[in-house]
């Protein structure tokens, strides 16, 4: 087994004075997906923001390939190789679909997206339209495309399937599989268990800001997950 690519240990953080994430640890290796599960309000998105550097870690460490990055600002983390697709406001609404994809590409070339367009033809059809005019699910497709195509070694996805049709969720799963095969490490926050079961190698289940269940997919059966996900 290859050494972990992204590791976080004992991470604590939140908003203002409220600790939303409390001593959460985990890791993800190249070619693997770590799925973060839990009911809403349990701190999953906050964990992503801590990993990406939007919020400071009050305690704990974050390491990329063994280098401590918890003190770095967001753009620096991106530069070191972490891509991020946020849950809310996942695209630049004022920009066209094309600009959303090519914003940071010096050549403005759309060729690298051919594979994605084949699966999500809606994006190819709406290239010149403002991304703000897309539906919530379509924005998620665009966001995922942008994030995966950056081709970085680590990708953080926050609820990529929210509002997306099942057929496209399957395409998402296939694209994520492709990235995995290429050696990318992914952390995916999900609410949709069916989707999570398709892509996850490991689960990390959170409740009230804490880790309640962690382990490889094969060792955790559905019933144990449901206890923490259902009402």
């Amino acid at each position: 087994m290859s050494p972990p690519r992204l590791t976080f240990a004992g991470v604590v953080g939140g908003y203002g004075t409220a600790a939303v994430v409390r001593e959460v640890s985990g890791q993800v290796a190249p070619g693997e997906v770590l799925c973060v599960l839990g009911r809403n309000g349990t701190g999953k998105t906050t964990l992503m923001k801590l990993l990406m550097g939007y919020l400071p870690c009050w305690q704990g460490s974050v390491q990329l390939d063994g280098t401590a990055i918890e003190a770095l600002a967001t753009p620096a983390r991106h530069a070191l190789g972490i891509s991020y697709c946020p849950q809310e406001r996942p695209v630049f609404d004022d920009l066209s679909v094309r600009d959303n994809l090519t914003l940071m590409r010096p050549d403005r070339d759309l060729a690298p997206f051919a594979d994605y367009f084949a699966r999500f033809p809606i994006l190819a059809r709406r290239l010149e339209q403002h991304a703000g005019t897309l539906s919530g699910g379509e924005k998620k497709l665009l966001s995922l495309t942008r994030g995966l195509a950056e081709g970085q070694p680590v990708i953080l996805l926050d609820e990529p399937s929210e509002g997306v049709q099942w057929e496209n969720i399957l395409h998402m799963a296939a694209l994520i599989e492709e990235r995995k095969a290429a050696g990318t490490a992914l952390i995916v926050v999900e609410q949709n268990l069916a989707f999570a079961e398709r892509i996850a190698d490991h689960y990390l289940v959170m409740d009230q800001g804490r880790t309640v269940l962690v382990g490889p997919r094969g060792e955790i059966d559905r019933a144990r997950l449901l206890v923490h996900l259902q009402v």
């Binding site: 600790a19 009911r39 309000g41 099942w166 949709n192 069916a194 800001g209 996900l229 259902q230 009402v231």
Partner: protein, 574 residues
């Protein structure tokens, strides 16, 4: 406190004995500017909006006073009419404030620019209206105040004017309205959700600042003997703001300090150093970058030390809350709402009949918090209606709805961190119990209620009144926020994740408090909660929202058995 004020008064009164006539004369002029600058401190430092055209009120009062003096000469009536001139400026400011704030509650840069434009307009009127104002050359030949026309008399008149302004200011800062202004600057929406008409409060602040400027202006006319359009224009307006900023806008005496300091520097530098304005510009930039709280902030530690000495005075029981007290009956029928293009409530109908504890659950974006916003009047529905008991509350402004007996706690605590714990509790106690003129009475700060006693018994940290709320831990903030909601003794209490971020022990005590309050007050309590353990413990009835509509309702077992609810929480292949 009294000793200090007495010393200050004595100092101001005795100062001329040690100063030359010229210094006294100079101070007399600065005192008048200081009166106006104090008003800026009140608006900007306290109530959180920046007036950029304050000279307009100074100038208006100066012209009115000038015309009065020319008309009446040395009649004793001027002593009646001069205060009226100042009051007119205050009333004008109050009127402008009411109109502008009522329109949209706007208190950001746009309010500032309105006042700036008004001040330019005033300057132009003063310049063009030759027959009345004397045009650009000004209103001349204004006689001095009868019997008070030498340098030291002028000094005492100015000093008295400033002392009146400062005393009024000290009183207002100590009164409930002063506390509310500071709360308003920090979180205006929250103040409205305690049932206060924030727009009226801001208009009062602006009116008082206009009055302060007017007092300065009314004395300026007889003291200078001439009123020119400059006193109504942009230059003086900008100077007043700069002085307040440099001295420190947050304290009562900061603006006065700024006026005296910048005034003294200007006078000393003006005729000695060729490029004195460069020095002044550099000085302003330095103060803004290095002392954002103004120069008075430099001596803040001394002030904190002096805060130590104070007397405790007996508590006063608060009167009962105004309005109905029976538990609320809430009906939402077919309510839809949008933010921009996004539909957030979609034909939502539900009915909550108090007393009792009710939980709302649902995934992200289901419309839970939006429902609360709707209930407190912050979200305007596009269709449908909301009934509280049998009266429609759709479309009412938040403070009106709160007055009908609604209380709310936010998910992230929105206590006023710049205020003390006691001030936070006071605001809640005043909510729906005090209004209008009562807000001017400092004794309201000593109010207490049986509910407060019970809360303090359960959470002793609430008794440490002088502690700033910013120093509280997260758990304490959650409790304080909840305590504030309970102190208003509403009929319908809306709690948004009251236990978010709390430790298990804190959670247990908060749950206990909520249940106690439910029993004791016999009201309807609606809780948004994610933690199913807590939902199970608290709720008699659970409402599940999904995509802005009601998906299911019933007790915990009904909800658990519902297939739609399961699908929402685990996702599905569709």
């Amino acid at each position: 406190m009294r000793v200090v004020s007495a010393a200050l008064v004595a100092l101001i009164l005795l100062l001329p004995l040690g100063l030359s006539d010229y210094r006294a004369y100079q101070l007399a002029l600065y005192f008048l500017y200081a009166a106006a600058a104090t008003g800026i401190g009140l608006c900007w430092g306290r109530a959180g909006f920046l007036p950029l055209g304050q000279a307009m009120f100074f100038g208006l009062a100066a012209y009115l006073a000038g015309l009065t003096l020319i008309w009446l000469g040395d009649s004793i009536w001027v002593f009646v009419l001069l205060p009226l001139a100042a009051a007119t400026a205050g009333l004008l400011a109050y009127g402008i404030g009411l109109l502008v704030f009522r329109r949209q509650g706007e208190s950001g840069p746009y309010f500032s620019m309105i006042t700036l434009a008004l001040s330019l307009l005033a300057f132009q009127l003063a310049t063009s209206w030759n027959d009345v104002t004397g045009g650009f050359n000004g209103l001349k030949g204004i006689p001095g105040l009868p019997g008070l026309d030498d340098f030291s008399a002028a000094y005492y008149v100015s000093a008295t004017a400033l002392l009146i302004v400062l005393s009024l200011g000290a009183w207002l800062y100590a009164a409930p309205v002063g506390v509310l202004w500071r709360a308003l600057a920090q979180n205006e929406r929250r103040v409205a959700l305690f049932g206060f008409n924030t727009n009226a409060l801001k208009a009062v602040a602006f009116g008082v600042s206009g009055l302060f400027a007017g007092i300065g202006g009314a004395i300026y006319a007889p003291q200078q003997g001439l009123v020119t359009p400059q006193v109504a224009g942009f230059g003086l307006s900008a100077d007043l703001v700069i002085w307040a900023a440099v001295g420190g806008r947050f304290g009562l005496l900061g603006p006065t300090l700024g006026v005296l300091l910048v005034g003294a520097l200007t006078t000393e530098l003006r005729d000695r150093i060729g490029f004195w304005e460069v020095l002044m510009a550099g000085f302003f930039i330095l103060v803004v970058l290095a002392f954002p709280r103004g120069l008075i902030g430099v001596i803040a530690p001394l002030v904190r030390w002096l805060e130590g000495w104070q007397r405790t005075r007996p508590a006063v029981p608060a009167p009962p809350r105004r309005g109905a007290t029976e538990p609320a009956q809430l009906t939402l029928s077919d309510v839809s709402a949008e933010i921009g293009e996004v539909k957030i409530l979609d034909h939502l109908s539900l009915r909550i009949a108090g007393p009792g504890i009710f939980c709302i659950i649902g995934p992200n974006g289901a419309g839970k918090t939006s429902t609360f916003n709707l209930l407190t009047g912050e979200l305007a529905p596009r269709g449908g209606c909301v009934l509280l008991d049998d009266a429609e509350i759709t479309g009412l402004p938040p403070h009106r709805i709160i007055a009908r007996g609604v209380g709310r706690k936010f998910q992230i605590p929105t206590i006023f961190t710049d205020l003390t714990v006691a001030e936070n509790l006071c605001i809640a106690l005043w909510s729906c119990r005090a209004a209008g003129i009562e807000l001017l009475m400092p004794r309201l700060k000593r109010w207490t209620s049986p509910m407060l006693d019970e809360l303090v018994r359960r959470y002793p940290f609430l008794a440490a009144g002088r502690r700033r709320a910013a120093e509280l831990s997260h758990g304490q903030r959650q409790v304080l926020e909840l305590a504030m909601a309970l102190l208003t003794e509403p009929r319908l209490l809306l709690l948004d994740e009251p236990c978010a971020g709390l430790s298990p022990e804190e959670t247990a005590s908060v749950i206990d408090l909520i249940r106690w309050a439910g029993r004791k007050l016999q009201i309807a309590i609606v809780v948004i909660e994610h933690d199913m353990t807590l939902v199970k413990e608290l709720a008699e009835t659970i409402y599940v929202l999904q995509n802005g509509a009601l998906l299911a309702q019933g007790d915990i077992d009904t909800i658990r058995a519902n297939a739609d609810v399961r699908a929402v929480y685990v996702g599905g292949e569709k």
